[in-house]
Symmetry: D2
Subunit: 118 residues, 4 copies
């Protein structure tokens, strides 16, 4: 592989990692959904009790942890995609299509309201 790694290469690497350890048996959709939630909370924990004005400082001073926790969430998402055959980029693009309809620029601009309240 030359140049920057792409997402497909990373997913292939995760599949290899899993299979070398005979871990497909643990990678059920329900287990991986649990893992995604657990890792998401570890990312959130880095910002617990941090006031909004200090978040950038935390992001800088604890950079390695922030990157590692974000990576853990992504890894479990990609494990989930590998286990269920979801095409990640296609699913994300479809969801952005939906969001473009739910949040038309003229209504959503500058507003944090949920689409059901727009």
């Amino acid at each position: 592989m030359e140049g920057a790694p792409d997402l497909a290469a990373v997913q292939a690497r995760l599949k290899r990692f899993r299979d070398e350890r005979d871990w497909a048996q643990f990678h059920s959709p329900g287990n991986l959904a649990k893992a995604v939630s657990v890792e998401a909370a570890e990312l959130l924990e880095l910002f617990l009790w941090v006031s909004p004005g200090d978040e950038d400082e935390v992001t800088a001073s604890r950079r390695e942890e922030v990157e590692a926790e974000l990576a853990d969430v992504l890894i479990q998402c990609l494990n989930f995609a590998n286990a269920t055959g979801v095409d990640v980029l296609a699913a994300v693009n479809r969801k952005i299509d939906d969001n473009e309809e739910r949040y038309p620029v003229e209504k959503a601009k500058g507003s944090a309201r949920k689409y059901t309240d727009l």
Copy 2:
């Protein structure tokens, strides 16, 4: 862009989506970490009260929801990366490097134990 979309194109699309709506003001690291957790729980909810033997059936019969909830987690992770400048694929690859050290094949094979207990 020709062929399949790549991750960089999706991240650029999310940045455009955010900026057209003037939403960067809401995309602080702490808010996005909250969003990742909330979306992760919505993915988990699809498998709540589902017995392990029925998970594949749920993944098939509720396919659209499964894909949409996984996409929502990924979108908030990518928004977080856009807001903080984390290089997603590099971070994931570094974490897989770490996991290869923590979980050597000969010790981890077929075991669900945490690396601290191996």
Copy 3:
């Protein structure tokens, strides 16, 4: 206080703990909701990668951790109630009333389906 502690005594103790440390400033509803989620995930983590048949064994062998993590979730819930003035037992009883309507015995018996699917 004689006999077993009651919930009101525990809530009073948490209020005292908070005020002695001048922590009311951190106990905003949003921060406490984050804390509830983070603690909930730590409870969940104890059962991550544990097969259903081994859960009782984990509950027994890691008893202290299980109790401590459950306690942490409850403490943040009670901190939230203290901060917002929610009457915990009244709120729980009202929600059980609702659930009795949503899940009538004759329809819900032995079924794990959500009330919207009954």
Copy 4:
């Protein structure tokens, strides 16, 4: 029952609710830990994209939802306690004992730092 309901009465009511519906079969520790996390995220969702200055307004204007979501977290915690035999108030009191040691008033006063950083 006269006067205010106590926690033991609420736990007994939840046990009855569960058994009338033959739901003990679904109330494994792992399933209930999942349910606690899912409900915690629904509480968190009420404060997603809400700026700190608007949290009290949300707590007031969406009072019923706030109470219902907090109640849902507590109900799943109490279901967990019922399923595993944890004495909720004793566990909470033990954890507050620990926290008193971890966060001595003179060190923790006015600080949001984790005890490992004090």
